[in-house]
Each structure stands twice: as structure tokens, then as C-alpha cells.
Amino acid sequence: MNENLKNEFLKDLNRHTGIIHRVCNSYCSDSHERQDVFQEIVYQLWKSYESFKRESRFSTWMYKVALNTAILHMRKKSKAMQKEPLSDIFLQIASIEEPAYLKDDLKLLYAAINTLTDIDKAIILLYLEEYSYEEIAGITGITKTNVSVRLVRIKKKLEEKLKNQY
């Protein structure tokens, strides 16, 4: 990757780092795992950036890569998690270590999202980000009708879970 592209990538990445944090928080309950997924997502984004044609919004493309990476990471989860220290990089990314900024209701929401299936997590995350049904269908690969039906169920599930927690 040349210098210009690298700078462009950094600019795009910094504008949307929140997406990676939100995906990590939704898919991983353990901080070590969050660090692992965070690193993997950044690495996958960097590897695929040259192929990004700007036909879609950067955030949409980023969500695709981040969600794919998180879901594929989950399939490797059964392997013994390598608990090696993840170096000083993550001391600089404090928010990935301990999401202390999260207010209680958001913490509860993340906890509730964590109980959903991998694909439901992706759908609700995109919905919360105010993506349209069509966009959600495009990112996940399921039909628009399927998205809307699933969303009704997911919202109901989450509301029930949150009701029990409040």
C-alpha cells in the first residue's frame, strides 16, 4: 500500500473507528477477545482497502468487513483461546480494554445483544445504526422481507431481555 493510500485509509478508519468498537462490543463479552477481534478487523480492512471501489459508503463497506471478520472469528472460538499478552498497542486503545464510557442502559443493551445469534446481532446492530432494510439486506445477504420479519422478533426479544434487567 503506498503512502497516499495509507494516509487515506487512516483518515477513513479514524472517521469510523466507532464501528469496529460497536461490532467488538456486540460480539465479544471478554476484553481479551475484543482486542483480538479489533486487531483482526483492522488487519482485514487494511488488506481489503485497495479493492474498495467507493461504490458504496465507506461505513457500509467497513461494516461488511467487520461483521464478516467477527462472525468468522466466532467459529474459531472453540479452539483454545490464546491468552498471550497483546502488547502495548492496546494500552493506547483504552476503550477496547474496558468500555467504561458506556452508560448503564447501553451496557445492558450490549449484554442483551450478546445473547442473540450471530446473524441477529448483525441485523440489530445495523438497524441501530439507522441503515435501511435494503442496506441491511445488502450487507447480510438475506432478503428485505426476511430482514423486516427478523427485526420484529429481535426487537421483541431484546425488549423482553431489557425488561427483566431493569
Binding site: F9, L10, L13, N14, T17, G18, H21, Q39, E40, V42, Y43, Q44, W46, K47, S48, E50, S51, F52, W61, K64, V65, L67, N68, T69, I71, L72, M74, R75, S78, L86, S87, I89, Q92, I93, A94, S95, P99, Y101, L102, K103, D105, L106, L109, T117, D118, I119, A122, L128, G138, I139, T140, G141, I142, T145, N146, V149, R150, K155, L158, L162
Partner: protein, 210 residues
């Protein structure tokens, strides 16, 4: 209890502010990328070394026995036959493994597709390699057990098959059992488990919810 819409609003407000304090600079990015490359290479090398070492061991021991028992034509021909049968499998094995890794690490980015397509492609690639590996193992295990029994016989640790078939047969079966257990554990960890998990997500996505 807040309504879902209120939760969504609060989500937007908090998530917008929460990550703005962190700026990724070039140094951090380089560290992350280096660490990612290292991890990826480690994973590939672990598998390549284990599998490569095993294949090298087979060729090396067979070559050793051809030289060591030069003149014993029956034994030499058996060793040469095994090598000749094994070479095409090694080549296909390496080719399939390389193709799988190449697609996975391709810069064009498999992960930039939608989730369903990515999962389907990953499943297909891993499954194809797994099917081939299973066929390879069916050939590999009897060969290896046969070689071990032959080695023990050649070094007079067990009597010849003509004198007494039982010791040779027992050695063959014990090693076959050990291989089957090792292959079963490896397949569960590297193939069956991940394939089942991926298939679960794919099936869930294909489910007709209407």
C-alpha cells in the same frame, strides 16, 4: 423501562461521542498490521510444518530403507511403489492447501462480500479441503502402519509375516488405532467444529422466517 426507540436514540448519542477520543496513528496501525501478519503466518506455518514434516518423514524413511536394504528386491519394490503412489497425493495436498490459503488471503478481499456469500464461500473451501484430506488419510494411514510394521520386521523386532502373522498384525492395528485417534481429534478441531458452526449460521440465514 425505556422503549426501544428511546434506547436507539440513547445508543446513537453515546456511540457517536464515545470513540472520538482515540485517534489511530501510523505507528499503531503498523504495529497492528505486523501483529496480524505474524499471527496469520504462524497459523499457516503450524499446519504446513506439521504436515510437511510428516510427508518428509515418510519419503526420508522409505529412501533410507531402499539404500539400507539395497539388493532385497521385494522390499525395495514395495518402498518404491509406496513413494510413487504417495507423490501425486503430496502434490495435490500442497496444491489444495495453497489454493485455500491464497483465496483466504487474497487482497481482493473475500470479506468484502455480504455475510451470506462470505460464509458460503468459506464453508465450500474448507469443506472441499476436508473431503480431500479425508481421502488422503484413508490412503495415508494403512501405508504408514504398513511401513512401521515392515521397519520392525526388518530390524528383527518382530518375526516375519511368513513365520507368524500375529505380531505384525498387532503392530499394524495398534498404530492404525493411534493414527485414527490423532486424525479424529485434528479433524474435530480444525474442520468439523468450524464447519458445523458455519453451517449453523448459513442454515439460520436460509431459514424461511415468514
Amino acid at each position: 423501562m425505556k422503549s426501544f426507540d428511546e434506547i436507539q436514540k440513547s445508543w446513537r448519542k453515546q456511540t457517536d461521542v464515545s470513540h472520538e477520543t482515540f485517534i489511530m496513528n501510523e505507528a499503531i496501525l503498523t504495529k497492528l498490521i505486523r501483529s496480524g501478519v505474524k499471527k496469520e503466518q504462524k497459523m499457516v506455518w503450524e499446519y504446513c510444518i506439521a504436515s510437511g514434516f510428516w510427508q518428509w518423514l515418510i519419503y526420508a524413511s522409505l529412501t533410507h530403507f531402499i539404500i539400507r536394504f539395497w539388493g532385497d528386491w521385494q522390499f525395495m519394490i514395495s518402498c518404491i511403489a509406496i513413494i510413487l503412489l504417495y507423490i501425486p497425493f503430496t502434490m495435490v495436498f500442497i496444491k489444495k492447501f495453497r489454493n485455500m490459503r491464497m483465496v483466504k488471503f487474497n487482497k481482493s478481499g473475500l470479506r468484502t462480500q455480504d455475510i451470506y456469500t462470505t460464509l458460503k464461500m468459506q464453508y465450500k473451501m474448507l469443506n472441499e479441503f476436508f473431503i480431500f484430506k479425508k481421502r488422503f488419510d484413508w490412503l495415508n494411514v494403512p501405508f504408514c502402519c504398513f511401513i512401521i510394521a515392515m521397519i520392525l520386521y526388518k530390524y528383527d523386532m518382530i518375526p516375519s509375516f511368513h513365520e507368524n502373522t500375529m505380531p505384525g498384525l498387532i503392530v499394524f492395528l495398534i498404530y492404525a488405532l493411534l493414527f485414527v485417534i490423532a486424525i479424529y481429534v485434528e479433524n474435530q478441531k480444525r474442520f468439523k467444529g468450524p464447519l458445523e458452526k458455519m453451517n449453523m449460521v448459513i442454515r439460520e440465514m436460509e431459514e424461511n422466517v415468514v
